[in-house]
Amino acid sequence: MMYGTKAIQLVKEIANGEKGQLTPFSSDVFSEVIAECSQHFADLRSLIRKMQEAGLDVETTKNEDHYGQLIHHLSLVRNKRCLMAYMYNRAEILRNLVWKVGSEIPEEIQEKLSHSEKEYFKKHSEALKSYMSRVVLELAVDMVPPKDPYIKVRVLDDMGEVELPSDNTANFARHSMHFLKRTDAEKYISLGKMEELTG
């Protein structure tokens, strides 16, 4: 099997997924690629040892063992790039998610994350929160200034008594309609628990 085919599976997973959507973390393939990296490293070391035992200068001799080392090295670097790109592109989706839905990970996303990604999500949202409280500005709200500070919404999911950021409480029973402050409603709409009514 050609080197790096496992790693390209991970990259294809990102490429074939719908844009901006997370797929479950492929921990099996991920650790297989890491095992492949260790194998390349071991092969590389044994080729170096072989040259040293023959009394050759490892840095200047360009024989067939040297080129073998080169190929193992390149494969290692390639695998690393694939792994990094996999993590990086998932982390990017997560960062966007923090801005959209706030500090709680929605259930359907939670099950797709690895342990370190959950940790990353938590820390990123904490950092964002502390920054916003330092500059005293709510940065996650809609960028377009509203024509009306209030909007009409319909509740899609039974939530019961809820305390709103503007210090009111409201009873969000399923299918009930409310007239809310825009800033209060935004979070629930992006979580899919409410929809905006127009007209």
Partner: protein
């Protein structure tokens, strides 16, 4: 960014054209250089050539370390002929030992072939998707050639290959192919009904599909803006809403 596509050629499209141009130019520069230095000894010419090739190579490569498409471009297979013997690797499927003999022909992914080519361990050959037949077909009726089945990353791969395999027409060939196809894609994306797309889409490379989708989404955004609608929507990252059981 996507909205800009409506009407005028997009920024992305132009970027692509520039990239293709750069490739062509880089090759000509290399050739000129070679012609000027006829009186230099053979080795220094080779060194200069290698240096330019490496510069172009690293310029294209460093574009985006984390870019998923760039990684997939570099996974494309290239036929190579080994010039040196290599020990302790399993890349030649026809070999029975863990060695590669000089002169053996192997298909390697670009990321490996390209480094070996620059170090003169193996020599790259023009991949099958840029053969004479494809060139003739693209020259005859570029817009209706099925490039997707030949190479999903036809242009990007061509850009990377061009300075290495010594095909001096590659740059202009890619550019003219892209230009003819781009026109048709844009016209179709703005006009045709959704059902008519599936045939066209099965011909397009990844880059062209992106252009097509950008053009369509700009049309959709324009229509939405004209009709009006709610500003807030469920976050798209959560996926489509599941149908509830009752």
């Amino acid at each position: 960014m996507k909205q800009r596509l409506y009407g005028a050629p997009s920024f992305r499209g132009r970027e692509k054209v520039m990239e293709v141009l750069k490739c062509g130019r880089a090759y000509h520069y290399q050739e000129e250089n070679q012609a000027n230095s006829i009186y230099l000894d053979h080795e220094s010419v080779q060194e200069k050539e290698g240096c330019i090739v490496r510069k172009v190579g690293s310029f294209l490569k460093m574009a985006s370390y984390y870019d998923i498409d760039d990684i997939l471009v570099e996974e494309q297979r290239v036929p190579v002929v080994f010039q040196q013997a290599v020990n302790g690797v399993d890349i030649d499927p026809s070999a029975e030992t863990h060695c590669v003999e000089p002169g053996s022909k192997v298909e390697l992914p670009y990321w490996l072939a390209h480094e070996l080519h620059l170090r003169k361990v193996a020599k790259m050959k023009v991949p099958a998707c840029f053969n004479q037949r494809t060139k003739l077909e693209l020259g005859a009726d570029g817009a209706s050639v099925d490039l997707r089945s030949r190479c999903l990353y036809f242009y990007e791969f061509g850009c990377k290959i061009a300075p290495l395999v010594g095909d001096r027409d590659m740059g202009s060939f890619l550019l003219s192919a892209f230009r003819t196809r781009y026109q048709k894609i844009l016209a179709k994306a703005h006009n045709a009904a959704f059902t008519a797309h599936s045939k066209l889409l099965s011909y397009l490379t990844k880059e062209e599909t992106n252009l097509f989708e950008a053009a369509q989404s700009s049309m959709a955004a324009f229509k939405k803006w004209r009709i009006g609608g709610p500003r807030f929507e469920r976050a798209s990252v959560l996926g489509r809403k599941r149908k509830e059981a009752n």
